[in-house]
């Protein structure tokens, strides 16, 4: 009697887990697999699309731009994110709340509106240029959007909150008594930070960096709007390939490459950091 009700219970839980998993496989995993298949079958069967990617100078330039902008934005966002997380953790509870609220606010504002705000600020007749001219810093407007500067500013603005959350989570687990011990033994504050605190945070910094880089690599909105067609990154290039030139083979091959890169980075990250902690203590 008891064992039958146990198995009955298990069947219910199995169904509860499997039905959503099947839905996800049909509507999410299958489309991803289609990308892979198309990349090997259109326009002709084989590795042709991947060979083309490797040999095309245009695509090499796009990949180069993407990697350069993503690395630069990730590093800048990590630096400021680290500073911000450190300050948040060491602020008084009252200030802490305000700082976290500010980060949350900027995180939740629509990405389109954020790009728009930067366009209003940075365009040639925008507020930043007007201000710089009125205080005599520059004579003529400086080009701040439709180039890499604009894209990096917009991306850093998006990526700092993304970096702060995992950084905060990893810094919370560091025992401050190590630093106090170093201080007690006569080390200067900066020395104690550099020799004790900073090395302890490194695994968190690496995994936050990889996470931020993964987010940045597929960026579409910010580069497309702030780059103004002059700074083409991978996501925008893929969209243009597919919608204008109907080059599905090449577009899907690039998308599959992005996916492969993301997976490799995740595996690297899993080796450095505790995954479950990063995704908010799943278990």
């Amino acid at each position: 009697m008891r064992s039958t009700s146990e198995t009955e219970g298990l069947t219910v839980y199995l169904a509860m887990a499997l039905i959503p998993a099947c839905v996800l496989c049909i509507f999410y995993i299958y489309p991803l697999l289609r990308i892979l298949i198309i990349s090997f079958t259109e326009p002709s069967v084989g590795f042709g699309n991947y060979v083309d990617i490797a040999s095309s100078s245009v695509i090499r330039k796009v990949i180069g731009t993407t990697l350069w902008i993503c690395s630069l934005s990730t590093l800048v966002a990590l630096f400021f994110g680290y500073l911000l997380s450190y300050a948040i953790l060491h602020a008084s509870p009252g200030w802490q709340r305000w700082m976290v609220t500010a980060v949350l606010l900027s995180f939740w504002v629509s990405i389109l509106i954020r790009a728009f705000a930067w366009i209003a600020l940075l365009q040639t007749r925008g507020i930043v240029n007007e201000a710089m001219q009125s205080i005599g810093l520059t004579d003529a407007p400086v080009q701040l959007i439709r180039n890499q500067i604009g894209v990096v500013i917009g991306m850093v603005h998006y990526l700092i909150p993304t970096a702060v959350m995992p950084l905060l989570a990893s810094m919370r687990n560091i025992d401050d008594r190590y630093v106090m011990a170093a201080r007690g033994l006569g080390s200067s504050p900066f020395h104690a930070f550099r020799k004790i605190y900073f090395p302890l945070t490194l695994p968190g910094v690496f995994s936050a960096g990889i996470l931020v880089f993964i987010f940045s690599i597929g960026f579409y909105v910010t580069p497309a709007l702030l780059g103004g067609g002059r700074v083409t990154m991978l996501a925008e290039y893929i969209a243009v390939q597919v919608s204008h030139t109907l080059a599905w083979g090449q577009g899907t091959a690039l998308a599959a490459s992005i996916l492969a890169m993301v997976l490799i980075l995740l595996i690297v990250m899993a080796r450095i950091a505790n995954f479950k902690k990063m995704f908010g203590a799943v278990k």
């Binding site: 009700s5 219970g9 219910v12 839980y13 199995l14 509860m16 887990a17 039905i19 959503p20 998993a21 839905v23 996800l24 509507f27 999410y28 995993i29 299958y30 489309p31 991803l32 697999l33 289609r34 990308i35 400021f80 500073l83 911000l84 300050a87 060491h90 008084s92 700082m99 609220t101 980060v103 949350l104 939740w108 629509s110 990405i111 389109l112 954020r114 728009f116 705000a117 366009i119 600020l121 365009q123 925008g126 507020i127 603005h157 700092i160 504050p189 900066f190 597929g218 579409y220 909105v221 709007l225 893929i238 599905w248 599959a256 992005i258 996916l259 993301v262 995704f279 908010g280 799943v282």
Partner: protein, 270 residues
Amino acid sequence: MKRGRLSTGQFAVFGSAWIVICFLVLPLFVVVPVSLTPERFLSLPSGEISFTHYRELLEDASWRRSALDSAIVAFSSSFLAIALGTSAAIGCWRLSSTAGEAIRILMLTPMIVPSIVHALGMYRVWAEFGLLDTYPGLIIAYAMKGIPYVVVSVSVALANFDLRLEQAARSLGAAPFQAVRLTLLPNIWPGAVAGGILSFAIAWDEIVVALFLTRRAIYTLPRKIWDGIQDNVSPTIAAIGVILICATICAVLLKILWDRWSARRFGHAT
């Protein structure tokens, strides 16, 4: 840490942290003066303040239609994500650890795959399924994107749930579904709601998937804003920006109040 007196080092750290915060928050508010300009192009109001662009938002039926489309899609997809995500999280929680863990990792994939990749795949598959430019098409797409967030937050809530409550219900004669409904759900619903709100926010703001999966029949708010920025950057976008930012501020404040309440009521933040 001593209060009141800051060393030079601490002063430098907190000073620069606040500069970073200003960099994050202040640019958002530039849309406020821009939305009040009397001109047709992006500019700051010089002397005269005008609400023309807000009136335009209210009078133009296409903005209302877009907001309605976004609301329909975001609400439906987050309900679907809550149903599927909660069910999956509970199922995985009770299954053997390896099977449960494998399914859970599968359910988390949409969190990490870049939008452009799944947008491309969905475009092809939706064309086969006849789902392009339909409400169900976009709703399903966003539900898939929302599932991981529900799975994560329900799993956190489940980690704090005492399994013996459910076992007690079962031993008192409750059927499996009854036991779930009567013991589990009252304890984990805040987690499901929190995940649902996240997936709502994503669906409300998503543009890449919308660009691929919709044409004319569905015209969401992000799509309308996107086209507005691409065609002619008019201050109307600033006006809608002000409204969206105010909504975000309200949501963040509500979230803080909610966290405090649920910490008191359930003993953990969601």
